[in-house]
C-alpha cells in the first residue's frame, strides 16, 4: 500500500498556489464562489485556468481534456477547493456522455462542457421520484419522425440559473417497466415548451454566505410541455437510461470536494480553538479530537475511491464515502453549534459572529444525506455489492 501522492503532483501544488496568489483577487473570489458561469469575470478566470491545463485534467485529449491521470486531477480539485473554487472536473453530464454517448455527441458536447460554453443542470428528481429513480413519471413520447415529445416536471434541479442544458431522465416505457423504461436526454434549455420556477430553499432568504458549502441557494422546478427533443439528443439506448445514470455516478464521486466541504466547519473550529489562550475548554477539545479523527476517516474513504481509479469505485466504496461524509457533516455542525451557543443559529446579515456561516451550514448539512439517492439507497448498495445481502437472497 502507498498513501503518498505521486511526486509529479508536488510541483503542481506549488504552481496552483502561485497562480491563485497572482490571479485570485478579493473582488473576484465572491463572483467565482457564486458559481455564475455566465458572468464575464467568471469566464475570464475559467479561460485562464483552462489555459494552464487544469480543467478536465484526467479527461481524454480527443475531447478537450488534458490526458493526465486521476491523481493529478484530484490534486487540482483539492488545491482550488481550498479557496472555495470548484475547478478540476470536466463538468456536469460529461461523465455520462463520455460513457454512453455516440462519438458525435462526445465530440460535440464534452469540449463545450469543459470550456463552460455548455453548462448542464441535472434534471433527474421529481416530486415523487427522488431516491426511487425508477419511479420517474416525466414522459418522453417518440414520434414517427424519431423526435421525442417531453411532458412532465422535474423538481429540486440545481444550477438552473446559469445552465444551458439539462441532463434529463424521462419515462419512455410504461410505469410497470420501472427502471427498464427510462431514457436519458441532453435537453437544450432554450427549447420551446420549457419553463423554470425557482424554489425557495433553506439557503434562500437570507442567501447563504459564500463558503457555506451545504445546500443550494436556489433550486428549480422545471416544467416541460410538449417540448420537442431531437433524436440525436438522446443519450444511450431508448429505455437504457438506468444504466447511463447508475454506471456513471460513481465516476463523479472520486473527488476531494465532498470531504473537504464536510470538514470545513471542523477546521474553522480548530483554528478558533488554536487562537484562544487556553486552546479551548475540555469539552471543546474533546469534541474537536473526535471530529478531527472522524473527518480524517472521511478523507481516507475519498482517497480510497481515487486510489481505485475514477470509475473503478462502483463496488460500494463510493457509497461508503457518501454515507460517512453526510452523517459526519450533520453531526459536526450540530456539535460545534452546541458548543458555540446562541450565536451559532444567527443567519447572515445580523452582523454578529461568523456572518451566518455556521447557521447556514446547520440548515444545509442534512441535505447532504439526500445526495446520490440518499443514505438509505446507498446502504442497500453496500449490502448488495460488498456483502451479497440482497432483498431476496
Amino acid at each position: 500500500m502507498d498513501f503518498s501522492y505521486a511526486p509529479r503532483t508536488h510541483g503542481l501544488r506549488s504552481d496552483i498556489r502561485a497562480f491563485l496568489a497572482l490571479h485570485l483577487t478579493d473582488d473576484l473570489l465572491p463572483v467565482l464562489q457564486a458559481g455564475q458561469a455566465g458572468d464575464p469575470a467568471f469566464r475570464a478566470f475559467h479561460d485562464l485556468v483552462l489555459a494552464q491545463g487544469w480543467v478536465a485534467a484526467s479527461w481524454p485529449v480527443a475531447y478537450g481534456g488534458q490526458g493526465q491521470d486521476a491523481e493529478t486531477q484530484y490534486v487540482i480539485e483539492e488545491e482550488f477547493w481550498r479557496r472555495g473554487l470548484r475547478v478540476g472536473g470536466a463538468g456536469t453530464a460529461a461523465a455520462q456522455i463520455l460513457q454512453s454517448g455516440t462519438e458525435a455527441q462526445r465530440q460535440h458536447f464534452i469540449p463545450r462542457i469543459i470550456r463552460r460554453d455548455y453548462r448542464f443542470a441535472p434534471a433527474l428528481t421529481e416530486a415523487i421520484a427522488g431516491t426511487d429513480l425508477a419511479g420517474v413519471a416525466c414522459r418522453a413520447q417518440r414520434r414517427a419522425s424519431g423526435d421525442y415529445v417531453l411532458n412532465g416536471e422535474k423538481t429540486y434541479v440545481s444550477g438552473v440559473g446559469s445552465a444551458t442544458h439539462f441532463l434529463l431522465v424521462a419515462r419512455t416505457g410504461t410505469p410497470a417497466d420501472r427502471a427498464r423504461g427510462l431514457t436519458v436526454f441532453l435537453v437544450d434549455k432554450s427549447l420551446p415548451g420549457i419553463t423554470t420556477h425557482p424554489m425557495a430553499t433553506v439557503q434562500t432568504e437570507p442567501r447563504a454566505p459564500a463558503g457555506t458549502v451545504f445546500g443550494q441557494s436556489r433550486l428549480d422546478r422545471v416544467v416541460f410541455e410538449d417540448c420537442t427533443i431531437p433524436l440525436d439528443c438522446r443519450l444511450g439506448d431508448e429505455n437504457g437510461g438506468w444504466g447511463v445514470i447508475a454506471n456513471s455516478s460513481a465516476h463523479e464521486r472520486a473527488t476531494p470536494r465532498t470531504w473537504m466541504a464536510a470538514v470545513a466547519r471542523t477546521e474553522e473550529f480548530a483554528a478558533r480553538l488554536a487562537a484562544k489562550p487556553d486552546r479551548g475548554s475540555a469539552e471543546e477539545r474533546l469534541a474537536l479530537g473526535q471530529l478531527w479523527a472522524e473527518g480524517q476517516a472521511a478523507r481516507l474513504l475519498a482517497m480510497r475511491c481515487l486510489s481505485l481509479g475514477r470509475g473503478g469505485a462502483g463496488g460500494g466504496e463510493a457509497a461508503m464515502e457518501c454515507i460517512w461524509t453526510a452523517e459526519y457533516v450533520i453531526r459536526a455542525t450540530e456539535q460545534i453549534a452546541q458548543l458555540e451557543g446562541p450565536s451559532a443559529q444567527l443567519l447572515d446579515g445580523t452582523g454578529i459572529g461568523d456572518g451566518g456561516l455556521l447557521a447556514h451550514s446547520l440548515l444545509g448539512a442534512p441535505q447532504t444525506a439526500t445526495h446520490h439517492g440518499g443514505t438509505r439507497a446507498l446502504r442497500d448498495q453496500i449490502a448488495a455489492r460488498c456483502l451479497n445481502l440482497k432483498e431476496r437472497c
Binding site: S4, A6, S14, G289, S307
Partner: protein, 341 residues
C-alpha cells in the same frame, strides 16, 4: 497512491493467517519476517489485523509495538499507564522523586507468557519523560494478576525505589513514540476483531431464517451490515495510514491517536451490532462473536480511551504539531521533506 494491498502484502497476510494458527511459533516467525523488511511497520500492522481476526488479545499488540519500537522482537511487558486515565506521555506511571529512585504503579500488558523484561515510561528527576527497561524479577518490583473483561490477564506492577542506575535505556529512547505505537497496534488489532465479528454476523444473517425469510433479507439487517462494513473500512484505513507513516517517517505521531479513537468507538460498535444480530447466541460464553466483543471492549480501554486520544489530537491540532487542516500526512508538518503548506 495505491491504498490496496500490494501482492507481497496480500501474500504476507495469507501466510500470517496460517502461521497464527500455529500459535507462538507462527507469530514469532511472521513478526521476524516483517521486521526484516524496509516496510516493517506496514507488515506488522497487517499481522495485527490477522491476529485480531483470529481472536488474539492485547499481548500481541504490546509485543508488536515493542518490536517496531526496538527494531527487534524481544519478549517484553509494556507498563505505560496507570490503572486510571489519562493515557499519554504527560501521565507516566512512574516518577523519580528526590533522588530516591522510581516509584509508582502501572498496568502491565504481558508481552509473553514467559518471564520477561518490563519496558516502562517514567518521568525522571528533572520531570522529563523517558523510557526504561528492567528485569521483571528485580527486587524493587512486585505485581499482582488482574482479570480483564475479555478474560485476558494484565498485571498491576508496583515499583518502589527502583534505582535509576539499574535501568537499561533502550537504544531509541523516545517514550512518546512507544506510546503512539502501543495505541496504534491496539487499533489494528481491534480492526481485526471487528472485521471478523462482521464476517460471522453476515454469514449468520444469510443462514438464519425467520418469518419465512432469511435475516439478511430484512432491510434493517442489510443496513446494519452496511454500517458495520463502512465502519471497519474507515477504521482500517486510519490504522493502515498510520503504519504507512511510521514506515516512512519517524513514527505514527498523532495519526495513532486518530486510529485508536475511531477504533475505540466504531470497532466496539461493530462487535456490539454483530452480537445483537446473533440474538441470544451472541451472549453465550464461548461464542466467537461474543468473545470478540469482549476483546474489543477491553482493548478500547487500554492504551488510551476515546477522551485520551481526543485530547491528544486537540493538542496536536491547536498546539502547532500539525496545521488545522485535514491534509494527508505527507502534507502536514509530520514530514519535513515534502512540506508544502
Amino acid at each position: 497512491m495505491d491504498m490496496a494491498l500490494f501482492s507481497a502484502e496480500r501474500s504476507y497476510c495469507e501466510e500470517a493467517r496460517s502461521a497464527l494458527a500455529r500459535g507462538e511459533a507462527g507469530l514469532a516467525e511472521m513478526l521476524a519476517r516483517a521486521l526484516a523488511t524496509a516496510d516493517a511497520p506496514i507488515l506488522a500492522g497487517l499481522l495485527l489485523e490477522e491476529a485480531g481476526a483470529a481472536g488474539a488479545d492485547l499481548t500481541v499488540a504490546a509485543r508488536v509495538a515493542a518490536a517496531i519500537w526496538q527494531g527487534v522482537d524481544q519478549p517484553v511487558t509494556l507498563a505505560l499507564q496507570g490503572e486510571r486515565n489519562p493515557w499519554g506521555i504527560a501521565a507516566t506511571p512512574f516518577t523519580a522523586e528526590n533522588g530516591q529512585g522510581l516509584n509508582g504503579a502501572a498496568l502491565a500488558v504481558p508481552g509473553s507468557s514467559a518471564p520477561c523484561d518490563i519496558v516502562f515510561a517514567y518521568r525522571d528527576a528533572d520531570g522529563r519523560p523517558s523510557a526504561g527497561r528492567i528485569a521483571a524479577d528485580h527486587p524493587a518490583l512486585s505485581s499482582s494478576d488482574l482479570i480483564c473483561a475479555d478474560r485476558s490477564r494484565l498485571h498491576l506492577v508496583h515499583m518502589q525505589a527502583l534505582p535509576l542506575t539499574d535501568l537499561a535505556k533502550p537504544a531509541t529512547a523516545q517514550p512518546e513514540q512507544l506510546l503512539d505505537l502501543a495505541a496504534l497496534c491496539a487499533a489494528a488489532l481491534m480492526t481485526g476483531f471487528a472485521r471478523q465479528a462482521m464476517t460471522l454476523a453476515v454469514a449468520h444473517a444469510k443462514d438464519r431464517r425467520l418469518f419465512g425469510r432469511t435475516l439478511g433479507e430484512f432491510q434493517v439487517t442489510r443496513h446494519l451490515a452496511a454500517d458495520m462494513l463502512m465502519d471497519v473500512e474507515a477504521s482500517t484505513l486510519l490504522a493502515r495510514e498510520a503504519f504507512w507513516a511510521t514506515a516512512r517517517y519517524a513514527g505514527p505521531g498523532h495519526l495513532a491517536a486518530q486510529a485508536k479513537l475511531v477504533a475505540n468507538t466504531r470497532c466496539v460498535g461493530i462487535c456490539r451490532t454483530a452480537q445483537q444480530m446473533l440474538g441470544g447466541a451472541g451472549f453465550v460464553h464461548g461464542n466467537r462473536v461474543h468473545d470478540l466483543y469482549r476483546r474489543a471492549l477491553t482493548a478500547s480501554l487500554i492504551f488510551g480511551t476515546t477522551p485520551d486520544h481526543a485530547h491528544r489530537l486537540a493538542d496536536a491540532v491547536t498546539g502547532g504539531e500539525v496545521q488545522p487542516r485535514m491534509t494527508a500526512p505527507m502534507l502536514s508538518t509530520l514530514s519535513t521533506e515534502e512540506v508544502l503548506l
